[in-house]
Each structure stands twice: as C-alpha cells, then as structure tokens.
Amino acid sequence: MINLVSRADELLESKAVQVVIGYEAGSTGKARPAFITDPSKTGSLIFDDRCVQNLAVYLTKKEVRYFGKAAIVATLPIMRSIMMLISEQQVFAENIVVLGVSAEGKYIDIAGIEVMQQYIATCDLGNPAKDQETLAMLNKMSTQQKFDFWQKELSKCIKCYACRQACPMCYCTRCAVECNQPQWIPVQSNLHGNTDWHILRAMHLAGRCISCGECGRACPVNIPCHLLTMHMADQVHNYFNVYAGTTDKMSSVMSTFEPNDKESFIQ
C-alpha cells in the first residue's frame, strides 16, 4: 500500500497528474471510488478485497476528464479496459498514468503502455472461475431451459441501465437504446424490451467485454447480465482466439475478420 500511496503522492506533488482515481473506504464499510486532487489526501487511498469496481469507467466521464491528466489504480480488468479505451481512441495513452495492482494486491510499476501490455500477456485472461462454472452449467441446459432461465431473470429488469453505466466500454454519448428513429428497443421495461436490450448490449460488447463483471454487480435487481457478455468473451476466444484488451492497437473482433473463420451453420 505504501507504494501506491507514495506514488500517487509523488504524481500529484510533481503535477504529473491532476487527479488520482482510486479506492477509499466508504461510510458503509464498502470501498468507494476516490478522486484525489490534493497530494495531502492520498493517505485515504486503500486497496484490499473490497476494491472490485472497474474504475476505468470514469476515464471517459466528462466530469473526470475536466481535472486533466489522471492516474488510475488498476487491477487486471481495469488495465484491460484501459487498453480497450485506448484502442478505441476514447482515452489517450499520454493522458493517463497507470498505478498497477497485481492479483495479490501488490503495487506494480506500469511505466507505459508497453509494460502494461507485457503484464497483461502474462495473466490468465479467461472469465473468473466462478462465472465460468455458472456459464458451463447454463450451457448444459436445454434450449427451453435456457429460455426460461433468462426470461425469468430478464423479467426483473427495470431498464435502469445501471449495467450500461457501470461498463467502461459503454461510453457512447447516445446509446442505441435511445435511438427512436427507428425505435430499435421498445421503451417500456417489459419482457420484450428487456430481452431486446440485453441482446443488444451483449452483441455490442462482443469482442470488447474484458470480463470484469461490473455490469452484474451494478444491477440493482441482481440479474446476472454479466454472464451474457462473459459468454460472448468466452466464445470470442473460442472462435477467434482473441481476448479483448490485450493491445492498444485497433483490433476489435467484430470489425475485423479472417477469411478462414470457422463456422458450421452457414449452408
């Protein structure tokens, strides 16, 4: 922790960055995001098991950008989010300093994008084991069972779009769901609208989801919507041998192709 704090301190003190995005202890015992602009306040930064939120989501927010250059406490999913954001030109590498945190919670020095890329390359990029198990279980179900499962889950959706807001990759200023000419997604939070919305979200995150699970955590009615995007991440790797967020080069799976992409269903 010393390293993280002292590094944050140093960056703010030297004015190398104007804000440090990290975690601090919240009043309810949970960790909450912290935006520190004053070097004397870096002591409140924490990092422990409670710090799971994907902070990269703030990098594209106007309010955070306003501060200027940012340093961000980054675990693997956050680093991968940053890679994706750079590759999709939403964040510029020169405007951000990464304060890396390893899987063991140790500070790691990430001096530049290349170092981050190398670090990511050494990590296991699959879905978290727990989610992977659930996916495997769901995949074993029959079509009707799956349908019923998701209809039951999605019937709870209140279309609050917390899943979208929490996701670093959902940075569009106007989401397709807000497009009303034509009205792609029925506005009401009914089963039809909910299903279409979640399909749209999963398709838009295909090849872009970095398996942080934030959407599922953000859902106020506990829909495991992260399983949809994680399933896509899994399949993207399965079909195209690609994990999202491993490079800062433009490389989205859905905007590229290989002539010999394998499929078995097109006649």
Binding site: Q89, T173, Q181, W184, S255
Partner: protein, 667 residues
Amino acid sequence: MARIGVFVCHCGENISATVDCHKVAETVGKLKHVAFSTDYKYMCSDPGQTLIKEAIKEHNLTGIVVSACSPRMHEPTFRKAAAEAGLNPFLCEMANLREHCSWVHEKNDMTTDKAIDLVRTLVEKVKINSALQPIKVPVTKTALVIGGGIAGIQSALDIANTGHKVILVERSPSIGGHMSQLSETFPTLDCSQCILTPRMVEVAQHPNITLYTYAEVEGLDGFIGNFTVKIRKKSKSLDEKICTGCGLCTTKCPQKKIPNEFEEGLGFRPAIYVPFPQAVPNKPVIDREHCTYYIKGKCKVCEVVCPTKAIRFDQPDEVIEVQIGAIVIATGFDIKRADFFPEYGFGKYKDVIDGLQFERLASASGPTSGAILRPSDGQVPKNIVFVACAGSRDPAKGIAYCSKICCMYTAKHAMLYKHKVHEGKASIFYMDIRSAGKNYEEFVRRAIEEDYVNYIRGRVSTIYERDGKLIVKGVDTLLGGQPVEIVADMVVLATAGVANHGAEELAQRLHVSYDSHKFFAEAHPKLKPVETNTAGIFLAGACQNPKDIPDSVSQASGAAVKVAALFSQNELTREPLVAFVNRTAPPLYSTCVGCFLCQSVCPYQAIEREDFKTRDGKIIKTVAKINEGLCQGCGTCVALCRSKSIDLHGYTNNQMYTEVMALLNEY
C-alpha cells in the same frame, strides 16, 4: 403528406398469369397515402412509361412503386422515367413481382397475397425515401504510372497518346525493367533490346510524359480523380541538366568491383554507373552505399574527370507532391534466387544459376558477350540441365501457384544453348509443359524435335558437386519413376516468379489489397482483372501475378483505356447510395463517439476523421466522416456502428426497419 403512386405491370402474361394484378393494384390503392394505383400490360413500354410520367404530374406524386420485374433489370429505366417527370429518381422503388413471385409460384390467392405484401412493403419504404442528388467528383487529368518495365512503359505511352499527362516513376536509375535484361524472347526469338529500346526512347521524348527515375512513391492521399502523391526523387549526386552522359566518370571510377544488378551478379560495375548501355535516361548515378567518397570521405575522381562539372556530392533527396487522377501500378515481379533452394545447395554452387542469369549469359550485350560459359571457370558447359518449376507449384515451399512463364523461357533457354553449343546436351526436368499461347506449343515442339532438347518429366530431388561436376538427381516419371542421374556442367533453375521486393509496403501506401503472396489483388478475378478495389487505381503486368510480355502489354493497354475513360469526363458522377455520419446540434455535433472501429471494417478506406474545433482551434470532438468519393455503399459500417451514428442512403436504418414492419404486419 406523402402521395404515392403504384404501377402494377402484367408483363404481358408473365406476371398476370399467376398474380391477380388488378387485385394487387386495387388492394394497394386503398392503403393510406396511396394517391394513385393502376395496372397495365407493359409498364416498361413507351405508353407504360408515359402513363407513369403523367400520373406523377397529374397526381403530384411524392414517390412511386413500380411493381414489375427485378429492379436489377429495369430500375434504371423507371428511375429515368421518374426523373423525366420531375420526380427525384431515388423516390422510385421497384417491387419484384416477376422473378420473385409470379415465375416461382403457383397461381393462387397466396401468390397474389405475397405480391400485395411485396408492393405494400415498398410503398411503406418509399414514403420515407429521401430525394438524393448524384455525387459529382472533379477529375485531375494526370495519371501516375508506377514502374518503368514494359507494362509501365506501354501504359504510360498509351495514356500519353490520348492527350493526357503521365508521370512515370521508376525506382532504379533506368526504365526497361526485366525485359531489358532478356536476351531473346519467345516464341519468335527476336532480340528483347531491339524491340524494347525504341519504346524506352519514346517515353523519354514524349511531350506528355514526365519521367522520374531513381524515384519512389512515398505516400498517397485522396481518392479517385483526386489523389495527391508524394514522390521521393533519390539524389543521383549529379546535375542531370549539365551532364551530357559522356560516361567518362564511369570508366575512371576506382571502385570497380560492385556486383552488377543488371547482370544479375555475373559482372561488375563502378560506383558511378549507368545500369546498361541503352539506359534511359542515359546518365549515371552515384551508388552512395558503395562510393569511396561516401564511405571514406575522399576520392572525388568523378568530379575531377567530369568535363562539365556535373557531379554534386551534397545533392539531397527531393520529395515532391503531385496531383493526379488515376494510378497504374506496374511494379513487376522478381524471381526466387538459387539461395532459396536448400536441396540445390543454397546458392553455393557457382554453376547453379537462375533464369535471369542465363538470360544475361545468352545476351549479346551480357558479361560473356553472348557466349554460354560456366560462371565458375569460364568453360563452355557440355552438358546443361534446366529445372522447371523450381519453387513454383510447390506448396511445401509456400508457392502453390504456377509461375506461368518458366515453361516457355526454359524451352527458349535450351534452344539458345543448343544454337550456341551445337554439340552440347541439354536436358529439362519438368512437371507439365504449359505452353498455352499463340505459337507457344509449336515453339516447344521445335525445341524437342529440331533442337533435340531432352525433356524429362519428373522433379529433381538434389543437386550436389563432385569433382567439379554437378550431379543432378531426379526421377523420370514417364519411365515408371525410374531414378535419373545426370552429371552436368551447369544447371539453370527456372525459379518461381514472386512479388517484387517492396510490393507489400507499396500496396499499404496505396491502400490497395494484395494476396497472400504479396501480389497486387484485382477487384474481380474474371470481370475486373485490371481494376483494384480502390477506385482509380489499376494494375498492369506482373505485379498482379507472373505474366509474359504479350500478357503484360495487353493488360497495360487495358489499364490505359480505363484511365482514359476516367479522364474523358470533367466530373465523375456517382450514385449517391453512400454512407453518412449523422449530425446533431452542438455540443454533441454527432452521436458518433469516434471509436473508429468502422475504419477497420471499411473495405475502401472511405472513413476519415473529422475534427470539430473551437474558434481558437482546440479540438472538441473527433468523429467519423465518410468520403463520398470512395464509399461504395456496402453498409457494413452501418450494421457495425453501435450508436447507430452511420447510416446508408437508400438503405437507411429507418427504411429497412420500416420494410420489416410492413412486410410482417397486417394492413
């Protein structure tokens, strides 16, 4: 308020035999916003078209649906008719009642119902069609030809002769290409230089051609009719205007042992040199890599001896930018060298040479003045072996394709050898003899029957040296796979033709596609063999795949006609069915967030960046912008765009959505 007209065609009886056309017109006529609906025997006939035109005027129609045959057949006809009646042609849609309905279904109510549905769907669509204006693009009537081999020369001359300006860029010091290296040419055995050099001189003297030798294309911007090309003119270390080309410097240069590229390493040249006697332009360049002055800082012999004081040691490279309207790529090919073949000694046997080296040996202007001599000891080879398909048609070597020219030039080589060494023995190992071409087969037969060339059908497994001889081990498949061993004095490998070095980089610079072998890719293998996928860029010669001279010249002329056709108009008119990025009021400007994933999906590099700036030049937002000159309207970007910020004229999200809704819902 939309006022739609519907015109149902009977197509004689082609449609009305199974579809109740009258019922279709009647039913659709009752739909909301349909102001006029009728059926008629032949809509495409003159009276039919007149009927449409009059209805448009009389009923003040805002859109029409002609329900007849396939739009692929008559859409232009009816759009033209609409335009003649003052209706924007893009407000005319066609429902395909013939190919997609009457011809493929039984006569029954379902078929008529389907016809109604098809018409209804397009009525809904045409209601939200927008009037579109054709896109006009100005044309700069100067062509760029890249590569000064026979293909580039031919293209440049053909374009120049139509009265348009041409810039010909060649990266070596002289034009002429591989053809200038050849001794004689098949199937006539006329001397290559004799037929080529007049063309080279014509290029140099043509008032419409600007020739840049020792120059390379560095970058390309823009689109068809409006390219800006950046050309690097490498320094020749010499003032060309003063140099008279007397050649004194080249004879006095103390550095004389540089392997001569033109002689394929079989001879030497000085550091200041003219590649070959008939070079165009016939003025030397200094090869800075090997020049003593540039290496050690002193020498300058050439400067001392030059009678006109033309040497300029400190002359820099010059980069120029030129506006052009079209490009012909004619960068040619290269061959694999003997060091590509481990089984034939990795190029370590001096007497195992490649086809181009043999050309130089056989050439009267070559290092041996046309005598066939072994490079190792200068002796006349008594027994010579040619290996066709060295590398070609060999997937294990990564070259699955046929190099096309080797069968013919190997036959020619064997003939030339026999004509010069009468008592010598020539054998050719081959896989198949591919001699399709005018007088080609006859030529090969002559080699076999009149010059007694020994053709052995089989491949060579290994070549090795023993006691100064080359042992060629192969197989004769026509003798039931019998092993053959020939003790040869010299071996000529007809090595595979491959993409020229630098082809990949050039393709990337020009944004044209290339295949897995780095050959430039044509737009369509059959119907667009001269075009590339980038509009305004054409291919000529062996840069596309190995080709012989007649094929290269034909394609070069083909490319020239494409360029001339493009230059025949002052403006290009294009169908406006292109993509566009939406615009909204500030501060959003557009719903596009600038992820630019659409850039990688676009096959035409039609997506550019557009910055919105404050008055003091600060960038507020960068969004995608479609270059209408390049966009071909496939719409792949539209389906990819997550925020629905890109749309496609003629097939907008709203139109496609409306079609689906109309087709499936009851009316």
